[in-house]
């Protein structure tokens, strides 16, 4: 389980705050706006610290516990910052059948962190993720937007070295 409380102090910029208010203004009058606003906020900050949730709750006129309830319900909302490079191992069935478990183990060894963790220098974070739909290339990993497929495990160190 990911930590529910954020481990690092919040350091949002004025620029980010301005962008956040712009997102809130855009959706304020829309029905069912909370999800798009939270998604927008996560894009701005990279994660959703309690400070950001508080602003959203106040501006949208909903209780903070409702915002927090939503953020902790959906796996894509993060309460902790992610690494500069987000390494995600697809754990869909097709990848699993073709050895995604071994790939994850190899990544854990190479990075020295468990899924949900982040390297001390903040460079890499590791997670296992739901099917990304590239089943034809199983097993696959994603590093930010880049997809690497048909892995055997031997390529991992070479791939990580590129970042």
């Amino acid at each position: 389980m990911a930590l529910k409380k954020c481990a690092v102090p919040f350091a949002g910029t004025a620029e980010q705050e301005k962008a956040l208010y712009a997102v809130i203004d855009e959706y304020k009058s829309v029905q069912g706006a909370l999800m798009p606003v939270l998604q927008g906020a996560q894009e701005i900050y990279g994660y959703l610290p309690i400070e950001v949730q508080t602003v959203i709750a106040e501006e949208m006129g909903v209780p903070l516990e409702k915002v927090y309830g939503i953020v902790t319900f959906y796996s894509q909302f993060a309460l902790n910052p992610k690494g500069k490079y987000k390494v995600a191992v697809c754990m869909g069935t097709a990848c699993y059948v073709r050895g995604a478990g071994d790939i994850l183990k190899k990544l854990k060894d190479s990075l020295g962190i468990d899924p949900g963790g982040i390297t001390p220098d903040g460079k890499f974070s590791l997670e296992d993720c739901r099917c990304i739909g590239a089943c034809g290339l199983a097993p696959v990993i994603m590093i930010n937007e880049d997809v690497y497929g048909k892995l055997t495990g031997d390529e991992i160190d070479g791939i990580l070295a590129k970042y």
Binding site: G32, F73, T93, R130, A134, C135, V147
Partner: protein, 597 residues
């Protein structure tokens, strides 16, 4: 006018294989040779053969190049595009036969396929509405708005026999009819599209949205006209960035052309579509949870009735269909209900798209008439199992479905047959497993997924799936007892009968069907403490072969538990009471002296 067209697949599979790089290399090379006025390059949706990506097709010849690298581009441009000589070494090998190059439609992969929902995927540029219109796009909407009454539309869909492609198989026409009639004086109704394709190993909806996004928009507008709704929502997984992007482009283009918005085709009918992104919760594929999520809440399902046709999104009557279901609608309107009903079996009409994955040679996307057998799909279209291994089972319906064992490989696939053998159609993921896959481990894998994705609202699902998982864990770690097998069955039935929504009601299916079809394997795990597929680490025993060990001590140094003893240059021994079965020794041994069995 171009004399040649080059189609490059821009689907997620080929994108991941590097189709973007190939595409820019191609454009560069074309410009370098001054061909930009003669050769058109089109980025299309999925061709289906994802395993062989990136894929590129050159017309008018129809040459199908597979696994193209950027370094191949200069040769293709100078030989094929300039001199008209097909580069045979890069062609998909199935299209090359002794009698010359044959058309793609004659290859084993495409021969038995019938493309209805995937009609435009890999054919048109999904980011250009004109290409969709050129392929009869928005004609069905025009016909519906100018020539048909809503009742006629519903009757056509009903007569076609189309059933929901998301897995449930509910007749689509009846769903629309209910939404039209149940609350006649509703001030607002909604049309929703379920694009929250969460089943691991299923990617047909993604491919439709990436390859032919307009078809979904057109079908939603038709549904809106039929039930009397003016607003649509597409709920799509955020894990599908390319599909989201193309859908956004498509919606904007449709608005620009007046195909969404006010007074479409001067008929007085208004309709618009918005996108809502999911945020990684499998349960949101369940219809009530999906609507609750669009409303901006935790995606927890609610009891039915009331059904969405009566009280759906924002409390209003709502029709919710999945992407593939919608993809069939415009064709049904244009070609008629009889045409559609002529395909398939008695109770399952039309075609079904399957995402082939796992231990199969041609992983990718296929569309076949209902009633095709699994044998045809796996061995003819799928090209069989890699490395000559034996077919063990195929899992359909993901974590809600079950497995089809080798004994049932000749059963025609349709909704009812799959249910009768303890599986289900599901959304269409079809994962093939061979002899190296352990069926206890697979059941555990699916259950781990449902445990993680259970929303926690009802106890049978939240606690039941967890207990079930622990029982399987007990078996795979070597502590299982025979009575556990009966307990598992009882608990499965309990969870099925008492869970609130489809997630919990179907969560035990993989376990039940694997236990039913592979009972011997479960008994072997429990009684003999053995895993024949050598997957369950807890049941494996490690030993050192005396004649191969040279006493290099590498294994002893690698062992985290100090379980290996032996002096330098002497045979080493593993103390099984200390061994934690991590396998570190096997990796370190350069002489193949350590075996697990």
């Amino acid at each position: 006018m171009f004399r040649s067209h080059v189609l490059i697949c821009g689907g997620t599979g080929c994108h991941a294989s590097g189709s973007d790089g190939v595409m820019s290399a191609l454009s560069e090379e074309i410009n370098k040779n001054g061909l930009e006025k003669e050769v058109g390059v089109v980025k299309t949706g999925c061709f289906g053969l994802c395993a062989l990506g990136p894929i590129m097709v050159v017309y008018p010849e129809g040459s199908f190049y597979s696994a193209i690298k950027e370094s191949d581009i200069p040769e293709i441009v100078s030989e094929h595009l300039l001199k008209g000589r097909v580069v045979e070494r890069l062609l998909y090998r199935e299209t090359v036969s002794a009698d010359g190059i044959q058309s793609l439609n004659h290859t084993a992969f495409y021969k038995k396929q019938k493309r209805v929902a995937l009609r435009n995927c890999g054919v048109i540029n999904p980011e250009n509405i004109d290409e969709y219109i050129g392929a009869d796009g928005y004609q069905a909407l025009g016909k519906v708005l100018t020539e048909m009454k809503p009742e006629q539309v519903i009757k056509t869909v009903m007569d076609s026999g189309l059933r929901g492609r998301g897995g449930g198989g509910f007749p689509t026409g009846r769903k629309w009819d209910l939404a039209r009639k149940l609350i006649p004086d509703a001030d607002q109704k909604y049309v929703c599209c379920n694009a929250d394709e969460g089943d691991p190993g299923a990617f047909m909806d993604r491919s439709v949205l990436e390859g032919d996004p307009h078809v979904v928009i057109e079908a939603m507008a038709i549904a809106g006209y039929a039930i009397g709704a003016t607003q649509g929502y597409i709920y799509i997984r955020a894990e599908y960035p390319i599909a989201v992007k193309r859908l956004r482009i498509a919606i904007n283009q449709a608005r620009d052309y007046g195909l969404l918005g006010k007074d479409i085709f001067n008929s007085g009918f208004d309709f618009d579509v918005d996108i809502r992104l999911g945020a990684g919760a499998f349960v949101c594929g369940e219809e009530t949870a999906l609507m609750v999520s669009i409303e901006g809440n935790r995606g927890e399902p609610r009891p039915r009735p009331p059904f969405p046709a009566e009280k759906g999104l924002f409390g209003k009557p709502t029709v919710l269909n999945n992407v593939e279901t919608y993809a069939n609608i415009p064709q049904i309107i244009l070609k008629g209900a009889e045409w559609f009903a002529s395909m398939g079996t008695e109770k399952s009409k039309g075609t079904k798209v399957f995402a082939l994955g796992g231990k199969i040679n041609n992983t990718g996307l296929v569309e076949v008439p209902m009633g095709t057998t699994l044998r045809e799909v796996v061995y003819e279209i799928g090209g069989g199992i890699p490395k000559g291994k034996a077919f063990k089972a195929a899992q359909t319906g993901g974590p809600s479905g079950g497995c089809i064992s080798a004994a049932n490989i000749d059963i025609p696939i349709d909704y009812d047959n799959l249910i009768s053998i303890g599986s289900m159609m599901g959304s269409g993921g079809l994962i093939v497993m061979d002899e190296d896959n352990c069926m206890v481990d697979m059941a555990k894998f699916f259950l781990e997924f449902t445990v993680d994705e259970s929303c926690g609202k009802c106890t049978p699902c939240r606690v039941g799936t967890k207990r079930l998982y622990e029982m399987l864990e007990k078996i795979t770690s070597g502590n299982g007892e025979m009575e556990d097998l009966d307990k598992i069955k009882t608990l499965c039935e309990y969870i099925k009968n008492n869970s609130l929504c489809g997630l919990g009601q179907t969560a035990p299916n993989p376990v039940l069907s694997m236990l039913h079809n592979f009972k011997d394997e479960y008994v072997q795990h429990v009684k003999d403490k053995k895993c024949a597929a050598k997957v369950c680490a807890g049941l494996l025993q490690y030993s050192i072969l005396e004649d191969k060990c040279i006493g290099c001590t590498a294994c002893a140094r690698a062992c985290p538990a100090g379980a290996i003893s032996g002096k330098v240059k002497e045979k080493h021994v593993i103390d099984r009471t200390k061994c934690v079965k991590c396998g570190a020794c096997v990796e370190k041994c350069k002489f193949g002296a350590i075996i697990r069995a």
